[in-house]
């Protein structure tokens, strides 16, 4: 009898706890943990300025949501999955963090989202590129927002193959992101009638690309594609131009370039390069207005990641405002039910696999003559509609997709 009673009370108690979590904000505080590379290769594309974007979103809410205080904690993941999982574990288990924002290197994100899933909290992924994050690595506890390798492979490679670049040689950063990008690009090039001649997996990071560029030149491929990011990409582009890669008739394709990379290379070196991006600061009036605010805070123009961090945080806080709860599943469902219309995108929506699908853009770096100012760097060649840009759910390996 006593056992029965105990069981009953604990069942009632746990039912109340679940019910309670859905109806209110835990600790009367919404605590956001910002995890990003704050000092290494990926610092500029997210880093401290991403934190500023997050703070701008919180400031828009006046620092509170539904009467609960919004707090931000921050950590440098140093691009290490180990550092990331131990930090996130501490945040979620001891420090009552409700949502993890930032999330840059794909390997870091895959490690961190596992911990977030174990603790049933929420992660809003903005910096990472690997499309596997909402495919084989999908969880009910994260949303991948800004872009991924799938649209990167749809945008630039398709355009280049159509212009006649049939044989491809890929230089791949040897970790989760590079592998993911390489496989997405391979599929896209082959389905458009091109072929992959060979690929090289280079260590991350690589300071000197001359050896790899030389091998790419010797391959005789029409296109040399860079499936890497950040300083690796800018280093490879500089070395390619030094070794006269494009003068000898090969096309150089950078599959992932951020505004900060192009800014570092300068219009002189980078002119004419085609790239795929999820957002551009000068794409419309709303984007420009927000970018002006961002520039006042930081002194630079925002990358697509900065814009994604701001936009996704606003969506997150809106969902808490609407439901009055910071429970991860309640918030995630509310976010999925609400179309996104803001400075980031129009009619964006979050799918069941956690992928936020929205229009992407094929852009080209302006020539120094076309560029009116330091940050006036892209012209948009084509809008890639959301349905074409992202992996269709019918191809998904995600366990959350109902057909699987």
């Amino acid at each position: 009898m006593t056992i029965m009673k105990k069981l009953l009370t604990s069942a009632v108690a746990s039912a109340m706890m679940v019910g309670g979590a859905q109806a209110e904000i835990s600790n009367n505080t919404v605590k956001i943990g910002y995890l990003a590379d704050m000092s290494g290769t990926y610092r500029d594309l997210a880093g401290p300025n991403g934190l500023s974007a997050l703070e701008m979103a919180v400031a828009d809410f006046g620092g509170t949501v539904k009467g609960a205080k919004i707090e931000i904690v921050t950590a440098d993941d140093r691009n290490s999955p180990d550092v990331a999982s131990s930090t996130v574990r501490r945040w979620l288990e001891n420090d009552n963090v409700d949502m993890v924002a930032g999330l840059v290197a794909s390997s870091v994100t895959i490690a961190a989202t596992k911990v977030i899933e174990e603790n049933n909290k929420l992660g809003l992924v903005n910096g990472s590129a690997a499309s596997s994050i909402t495919n084989e690595h999908c969880t009910p506890n994260h949303i991948h927002y800004t872009y991924d390798t799938y649209p990167l492979s749809v945008g630039t490679p398709t355009a280049i193959v159509k212009e006649g670049g049939k044989s491809w040689y890929i230089l791949t950063a040897d970790y989760a992101f590079g592998h993911s990008l390489e496989s997405d690009v391979t599929r896209m090039v082959e389905s458009n009638g091109g072929e992959i001649v060979d690929s090289i997996r280079h260590p991350f990071p690589t300071p000197d690309f001359s050896s790899f560029i030389l091998q790419a030149q010797a391959s005789g491929a029409d296109v040399v594609a860079l499936a890497n990011a950040g300083a690796d990409t800018t280093n490879a582009i500089t070395t390619a131009s030094e070794f006269g890669l494009t003068q000898s008739g090969q096309t150089l394709a950078a599959l992932l370039l951020f505004l900060t990379d192009v800014h570092a290379l300068g219009a002189e070196t980078a002119q004419g390069i085609q790239l795929t991006t999820g957002w551009y600061w000068d794409k419309d009036k709303e984007a420009r207005a927000w970018s002006d605010r961002f520039m006042k805070e930081t002194g630079v123009r925002p990358t697509m990641v900065h814009a994604g961090i701001y936009s996704s945080t606003i969506q997150y806080l809106n969902a808490i405002e609407a439901t009055g709860s910071d429970d991860s599943q309640t918030v995630r469902k509310q976010m999925m039910d609400t179309p996104i219309n803001d400075m980031f995108t129009k009619n964006g929506r979050i799918r069941e696999d956690g992928r936020m699908v929205h229009d992407m853009y094929l852009a080209q770096v302006k020539t120094p003559e076309e560029s009116n100012s330091e940050w006036d760097l892209y012209k948009i060649l084509r809008t890639i509609p959301a349905d074409e840009a992202f992996r269709p759910l019918s191809d998904s390996k995600c366990k959350l997709v109902s057909s699987n």
Partner: protein, 295 residues
């Protein structure tokens, strides 16, 4: 076309040449480390940061004052050398004679501070530095396209390496240096200012790093973190060559550039690890390094 292990001969020759060019950088950097360790017994973890300072100074002086490449090639190492003398005089001198670990930690701290401050100011995306006009373009060697600048890197690095080796091993100044660090009291007695000699030696060692930094500015992306990537590799080179062996550092530097270059051809994913593999093997067979003397 003739093939070696499935790689065309032409590609292989190109990779050997690239290996020598990268080796020239390793040689310059490890030479400075070897001098500082060999003569002063300081494990200089700030060496990568000094290399970075050389490159950053080149870009910043160009942007702010229009200082051209040739002036920078001289001026940047001198400025960094002065920074080095300050570090030696105000910091390292206070822990002279202590265990090696103290100099390692101190210089590591100095490196982190320099890197952190500059990262806050300049970010990590890299600063632009245009190739000097006279080095634009290159020559087709048949098996590869050789940019003029890379050829210049080999010439400049080898000249400086040889000059340094000659000065330390073959001149009177070098003899004073070696003697001064061996028995400083005796040398003081001969009227030689040993503390000054120590400061200048440290300054000279980091000048070599800064010189490598200037050479790197037009071809690598110049960022505050560029030194931290290369530092550990260069330490491995010095260990393989034998801590403190000056000739050993030069030869091993070039050799490791070639080994790394060949790995990039045959199995690229291992290219960042191969030097450490060589280090382990060398330490197992010859614990004092390839060219080190048993002490």
């Amino acid at each position: 076309m003739s093939m070696i292990f499935g790689v065309p001969m032409a590609v292989l020759s190109g990779q050997l040449l690239i290996g020598i060019i990268n080796g020239a950088f390793y040689a310059l950097l490890s030479l400075g480390l070897a001098i500082i360790f060999g003569l002063l017994k300081i494990i200089n973890f700030a060496h990568g940061a000094m290399y970075m300072l050389g490159a950053m100074a080149t870009v910043i002086m160009f942007d702010a004052l229009d200082v051209n490449y040739w002036v920078a090639l001289f001026l940047a190492p001198v400025l960094v050398g002065i920074v080095g003398v300050f570090v030696e005089y105000f910091l390292l001198r206070r822990i002279a004679g202590q265990d090696h670990i103290y100099s390692l930690l101190l210089t590591f701290g100095v490196a982190l501070i320099m890197q952190g401050v500059l990262t806050n100011i300049y970010g990590v995306s890299g600063l632009r530095y245009a190739m000097p006009d006279m080095f634009k373009g290159g020559v087709n060697l048949g098996f590869m396209f050789m940019p003029y600048y890379r050829a210049w890197v080999i010439v400049a690095a080898l000249l400086v390496c040889f000059g340094t080796w000659f000065m330390v091993e073959k001149t009177k100044l070098g003899a004073y240096l070696r003697a001064g660090t061996e028995d400083s009291q005796l040398m003081q007695g001969f009227g030689i200012n040993v503390p000054l000699l120590v400061s200048l030696t440290y300054g000279f060692g980091v000048m070599l790093a800064a010189f490598a930094g200037v050479l790197a500015a037009p071809i690598y992306s110049v960022t505050p973190v560029m030194g931290s990537h290369i530092l550990i590799v260069v330490f491995a080179v010095v260990v393989i060559g034998g801590m403190g062996s000056i000739g050993g550092a030069i030869i091993t530097g070039i050799l490791m550039g070639v080994v790394e270059g060949l790995t990039k051809t045959f199995y690229p994913p291992a290219s960042s690890a191969v030097i450490f593999l060589v280090m382990v093997i060398v330490l197992m067979i010859r614990p004092h390094g390839l060219f080190g003397k048993e002490s």
